[in-house]
Symmetry: C2
Subunit: 394 residues, 2 copies
């Protein structure tokens, strides 16, 4: 297949592009390099050094003999989107190309507006380009399990059958997300569902859990192929961040009670899920949702797990929750569609938790401990993150 | 109360401002005059002549002795929003200030993106300004019954109790709207619900049906106080448009089978509902939804009604549906909260239908019949509306 990976320079986009290339697909990557810019804005950096996109692609060619075609440009630039799709002629477009940090979207008004406009307009441009050029192109869109929030009922895959006052319908699962970032994904989902309905576009919305891990079979082939590993309070996600905190002797910071339970998955399963979605497209006009995760963990349980298996001494500290969220709640989500397509999950093991800490120890000289503390308080409209100074902290 | 009406130069915003002023509130209006610009862009005009905002406000002062303070500016301009709220110090903000035509949003990509960015960013700016200045300000937001689509179950007011696999929760009512415009309102609703939760803002989301009528007790006091009356294929809503079609001998154009059923209300009830919402604010942090309509009609029934009571001969023509929507479907929505607050509805009568046609006959010399035909086809990505030429039609 010909597959275009949007956001193909990012944490998940790059290893997905490698995986799909290795699997025999013709792969192009599109990126505006915004993720690298956020690092500069926040004064932080990936734990593991990463190369520029051009070098990554060149090394991949040397190592594998395979070609990945890079397109540098912005999805909010519609002529660019249209021209890229026209030139590459993809069968599927895998769309990771959005601002993906909840705390980043909650820094202040400017970052909230930027996140929603960037994500929503990029996806609208893509929908229009597909509708204009070729409605058979399969849009594989990265959503998030966070779109659902934490309802007191089981979370189904995108839709739920509701019987009410003696009548029944299957309707979109209600959304109640916890940040302006997550809201941008809810907006996208509604826009995509509508575009499928009116234009006969086919789309898979992958409501993904929180991803952990950093190495994939392809990134391990050469240091130039490494993908990023974020540990800072803005872009670092929970397990990866805990691994770094353990490595540098910083207490594992649990926000509030730590009973927040989330759906999670191994980075290698992200790659497998995306490929399964591409290989099994929906019908024309179909909008389908896959819940893309393998296990559910509470933040507290993850902290304890890291403490138990880390090869160093680890302490755990509960800090005031900078987010507004339930800290103890029911959580159970359904995921059957990806397993039915053949997903063989990598469940989290002691070995994997330990290897994450060991990876962090290898690169601990690159860690800026100041960047770990959460600096974005959802209750205020302007957080202390000093954007002007390009630095995190007070 | 001090009430700021955003979009206070528009079809509903202006008579709402007059009504609230007459009722004894201190009223300010905010408008960027975009609605007048859309007329120029489309080469159409209000059936009833309307005055510029400054003249309207001056005449209101002469007629009533009451002052309405105008603010000319754009809600996407955050410093303007912040300064206006700082200066006016409202108790409530009534937010009509959005692009409100479904077909306009479906003209092409540019109009879809404009509608979503304009509406979503304007509302985000407002939420941030309220959170920054005074979280007690009550945001009375105009949503639309179209946010719900036409589910096969009864539409509740914003939320629905769902029992699923033995567990129960009250969750946002699922949304499945029929245009990029309606989607912008869905996005707003999700953003507002979240802002109430994290910042303790209070908001009422008025999911309004389709409004008909043009005269209110205040607009009738002087020709300068008239509000607009749209009949064109882009901005004209169903009953008002049919009245004009009847007046000029243009067949009533029913899109498809005409079984599309929608919630509707009289313009005078819009004014009453908005005031009831202002006078009865929700608790701090509460996001509540009122379904703001009084009756449900199918398009077919409305056409027959106009035909039956019009003082002229009227024909009805079914034309291919330019929209993508169910043409026969179950539709029943609940509305109890506004009646509980005291709403006394003006139900549609033969007299009112006839008076609408008579109003249209009075101004039939101002009608451009070319503007009536629907020119926006939802199935294509670029409609025939020639924006460059500022004219409707081929």
């Amino acid at each position: 297949m010909r597959i275009l990976v949007l956001g193909g320079d990012g944490y998940l986009g790059w290893p997905t592009a490698l995986h799909l290339s290795k699997a025999g697909h013709d792969v192009g990557v599109v990126d505006n390099l915004a993720r690298r810019h956020y690092d500069d804005e926040m004064g932080v950096d990936s734990l593991v050094p990463i190369r520029q996109l051009q070098r990554r692609v060149a090394t991949w060619k040397e190592v594998s003999g395979l070609t990945i075609v890079p397109f540098i440009g912005d999805l909010t630039d519609h002529p660019f989107v249209l021209e890229t799709l026209r030139v590459f002629e993809p069968d599927a477009v895998v769309h990771f190309g959005e601002q993906r940090s909840a705390p980043y979207s909650m820094i202040d008004r400017e970052h909230a507006v930027y996140t929603q406009v960037n994500n929503v307009v990029g996806t609208l441009n893509l929908l229009y380009a597909i509708a204009e050029l070729n409605r058979d192109i399969h849009l594989v869109k990265l959503g998030t399990m966070g779109e659902y929030g934490s309802p007191n009922i089981d979370i189904e895959e995108g839709f739920i059958e509701i019987t009410h006052k003696g009548r029944t319908d299957v309707l979109p699962f209600p959304k109640n997300p916890p940040s302006f970032y997550h809201l941008s994904k809810v907006h996208d989902s509604h826009n995509i569902m509508f575009a499928c309905r009116i234009w006969g576009i086919r789309s898979t919305d992958l409501n993904q859990g929180i991803v952990y891990g950093q190495q994939t079979p392809e990134t391990a082939l050469h240091p130039d192929l490494a993908t990023r590993f974020d540990y800072d309070g803005v872009f670092g996600t929970v397990l990866n961040r805990f691994a770094v905190q353990a490595a540098v002797g910083y207490p594992l910071t649990v926000y509030g009670k730590g009973g927040q339970t989330r759906a999670m998955l191994d980075i290698r399963d992200t790659l497998a899920c995306v490929e399964l979605a591409c290989l099994n497209p929906p019908d024309a006009g179909e909008y389908r949702v896959f819940n893309q995760f393998t296990e559910e963990f509470s933040v507290r349980d993850l902290a304890s797990w890291v403490q138990r298996v880390a090869p160093v001494e680890v302490s755990i500290e509960s800090i005031p929750n900078p987010r507004v969220e339930k800290e103890e709640h029911y959580y159970h989500a359904v995921t059957t569609k990806l397993p039915e397509l053949g997903l063989q999950p990598h469940l989290l093991t002691d070995d994997h938790v330990r290897s994450l800490v060991e990876l962090a120890i290898t690169y601990k000289h690159r860690v800026n401990p100041e960047a770990i503390r959460p600096t974005v308080n959802y209750r205020v409209t302007k957080s202390e993150v000093s954007v002007a100074g390009g630095a995190v902290g007070e």
